[in-house]
Amino acid sequence: MKTFYGTQLPNPLMLGTAQYPSPAILEQAFRDSGAGVATVSLRRESGAGQTFWQMIRELGVLVLPNTAGCHTVKEAVTTAHMAREVFDTKWIKLELIGHTDSLQPDVFQLVEAARILTDDGFEVFPYTTDDLIVGERLLTAGCEVLMPWGAPIGSGRGLNNEYALRAMRAEFPDVPLVIDAGIGLSSHAAHAMELGFDAVLLNTAVARAGDPVVMAKAMMQAVMAGQLAHQADPIEARDMAEPSTPVIGKAFLS
């Protein structure tokens, strides 16, 4: 199994920590689902940050800080340095937002920031598009993980471009690939894993569900099922029926 900068994930579900109805529900969603990685961020200290951090630490999960909301290389690099100090990890989910409505990554700045951060000793998890050339540039910049979007953040549309994601999987067979963003349903998460992706990162689909704890469990079961299905070498789809019950030996009764 592939590792993420040398770390083996306990399971393929990375779960965001934002937008839950309450901290207690957030905590329960992690405990009941068993998600092994939590994404976190840095914001201006308002008093609640320390309690939140304490709770995340007690969950015993791997922590992946993000640079959410950053629009420039400078801002993202500075945020990454601050996150490394606060969360005491070299991991950084590098987000460089290029478009306000779609939250599409600015891939040009992303590559530049990835290079700077890698040189500074970070282990970069770049939130990128499904563009193969950008993926290649990110790997050249030093990234050892790629995180293409399934669909825009929070949209819940699932895998918008399955063709491109399949191509990405085929192009980078040895690189850990994570579908980051756009997942709405457990079937989307399973689909990503069936395509051979190594993990799924999602937040809104769980946090904004009517019952986030149950949805978190559904997502975990979905990624596990999808992973198993991929390992099992599934059949190809075909256009015509093929009887599964043997035809030979059928009684003549008509």
Partner: protein, 64 residues
């Protein structure tokens, strides 16, 4: 001295970043930046503040 702390204008007596955190009651895990540049915790004591400096004090927060 007038500075801007987390986007709010403040009048403070601290002359270093380390003193500012004490004066404003910040504790626990925070990361700091002055005028958009990261200041590692070990350098806060030697980071002197100047009139009009923009100081950011960030803490862990929920994120996706």
């Amino acid at each position: 001295m007038k500075i801007v702390l987390n986007g709010e204008p403040r009048d403070v007596s601290a002359e270093t970043l380390a003193d500012l955190l004490l004066e404003c009651g910040f504790s626990g895990r925070v990361a700091t930046a002055v005028n958009e540049d990261f200041v590692p915790s070990g350098l806060r004591i030697s980071q002197t503040l100047n009139e009009g400096d923009r100081v950011e004090v960030l803490a862990p927060m929920q994120g996706g």
